[in-house]
Symmetry: C2
Subunit: 362 residues, 2 copies
């Protein structure tokens, strides 16, 4: 299989390409073509910057693009309004104008913070996503959701702001710790569950090659995932409908992340446990049978992901955290549940007793 692919997220005058391949960071013109104003600010974190920032600077230098950088602390707990303030202070100190481009170099946290900073600096400047984790390559860098956490809720402060392009260099995954690599697989498995039964089966067949970091298989998994997300986002950019199915497992997962403290559970880990809960609730509703639940658990386990929620979380903790979820309408929590493999729905029409049973795993 060829490693290099280009997809387009079709959004009219906000359309943009996603480049997927090996060694893309060593191609200066790929990046520089999307930096229009002659200046750029690279935002990265203390883990990723030492690995790749020099390459990015060299690329920008080769086209005489002036650049500055901001290096953030690494971790979900630093995804705050203060980080956005830090970026904006640097932009102003270095006198970046409305033509500047922000470059997010890192995982989902860096991408979300940087995209949000770009959306609010001078009421909106351009930005480019260079995701360096499995999770951000298949999820957060595509689709224009940006934002930061509030102590009372994840992603509660944000904006829809589409990047100029996404450069997903799968070579960067070689430095990714196993735990983070697995966290990204949770979102990949999600695309199979919500939208693509064939892809789910392919993942079941190829999970050991994925875990062995076979680069052909990784590229294929990322390509299919981005294609699915791009298609859904093109139909429903602002999540007024179908886009919500991308949140399978996320309502439960966000509650786990918030309650356990940001950074203790990785986002993908919480989503994995949350997807099992969503599948479990779908099962109790008799919308899917037990064998699909078991296949989901098996696949997640093979991806080295948690399949049970934290034992010390109470129903009240879940309900309290979930009651401020963005999908609450008129006091009722909406969930993404399954009607079959590859068939997700957004619904508030579930039996509350079944929900309680799912939350207590009884």
């Amino acid at each position: 299989m060829e490693h290099n692919h280009t997809l387009t997220v079709e959004l009219g005058d906000r359309s943009y390409p996603i480049f997927i391949g090996s060694g893309l960071l060593s191609q200066p013109e790929l990046l520089c073509r999307y930096v229009k104003g002659g200046t750029a600010l690279i935002v990265s974190n203390t883990t990723i910057a030492p690995l790749y920032i020099e390459q990015i600077k060299t690329n920008l230098d080769s086209q005489n693009i002036q650049h500055d950088c901001v290096i953030l602390e690494d971790g979900e707990q630093f995804k705050t309004l203060e980080a956005v303030q830090t970026i904006i202070t640097t932009l102003l100190e270095k006198k970046h104008n409305r033509q500047t481009t922000l470059i997010a170099l890192g995982g989902g946290v860096v991408g979300d913070i940087t995209g949000f900073a770009a959306s609010v600096y001078q009421r909106g400047v351009n930005f480019i996503q260079i995701p360096t984790t499995t999770l951000s390559q298949v999820d957060s860098s595509v689709g224009g959701k940006t934002g930061v956490n509030h102590i009372l809720g994840k992603n509660m402060i944000g904006a829809f702001h589409q990047p100029q392009c996404v450069i997903a260099d799968i070579s960067t995954l070689s430095t990714l710790p196993n735990r983070e690599f697995s966290a990204g697989l949770a979102e990949i498995i999600k695309y199979g569950l919500i939208h693509d039964a064939k892809f789910f089966k392919w993942l079941e067949q190829n999970i050991s090659k994925l875990m062995a970091r076979d680069s052909d298989i990784i590229a294929q998994a990322i390509l299919v995932s981005c294609q699915t997300k791009a298609n859904i986002v093109s139909i429903d950019e602002r999540e007024s409908g179908i886009r919500a199915i991308l949140n399978l497992g996320h309502t439960f997962g966000h509650a786990i992340e918030a309650t356990m403290g940001y950074g203790n559970w990785l986002h993908g880990e919480a989503v994995a446990a949350g997807m099992v809960m969503a599948v479990d609730l779908s099962c109790r509703q008799q919308w899917i049978d037990n064998s699909l639940k078991q296949r989901t658990i098996d696949l997640l386990k093979n991806a080295n992901l948690p399949v049970t929620s934290p034992t010390n979380m109470t129903v009240d903790q879940y309900m309290s955290a979930m009651s401020i979820d963005k999908k609450v309408i008129n006091g009722t929590i909406q969930f993404i549940l399954l009607k079959g493999l590859g068939e997700a729905i957004v619904t508030s029409d579930y039996n509350p007793d079944f929900l309680k049973a799912t939350l207590t795993n009884s």
Copy 2:
């Protein structure tokens, strides 16, 4: 003349009405019609809340709309990201969901902060503007520019986010101190200078009635101003072109506000002095003659507004503050200048020596 008027800002699916009239706050249905989700958060300040917040609460109660409120400190120096954080904390503590509506009750500062909080809370919720100052009724509440200041620059953090409606009750102006009433007149005079020679002449003829707070004349001045702004915003919502002319005097004015410390010069006062500078530079360019400069100065003086810039501000201070203006392109500051009465242009094509002469008033 009839006091009550409705204008529409035509922006496709983001179109909204502006209601202008006396006693509009005593009409519960006018407000409640635009609160869709059954909950609202009123944001006001310590000066305005004691005067009008009970009326707003009564209106919401009459339609069983649940409401909470946030009362901010009064002043441009409190237009910060921290104020936005305060609003969002209350929204989360009181469990407001994505269907909630924020209501901005106050002047431009309250409107800008509240609109920005609405634009970022859960990636965007509805809001309503209830401007209670002349300045906010004719300027900041119309057009969807929202945002907060950074210590290094005014309005540097923000978003375009249109309200559901604007309710400009001119009765509220009766409690406005003279200094703030005059500050609003600066923006009203601006509309004449940039776009409407006839309106400028009408203002020259009616300035004493305006200063005497004749309510018919005030209503007429606000109506024409809002109509002009609505027309310009409809053509160029995101300020990629003509909308920039609304910033006549603002590049100089923002530099004065930032350098003198937010809150020491009122926004309208700084704009008045800034407009004289813009007119002076246009004169030096020989685009307009001296008589128009004198008429501008006379009208602003009659509105009790400053017509000279702070004596202690240096050219370096101006250039430093203006270099981070949002209208800087490739290092060159763009100004809004006049080619005639009612004819503004956006240009970087001016003689730098003339600019220096304007800045030093020499």
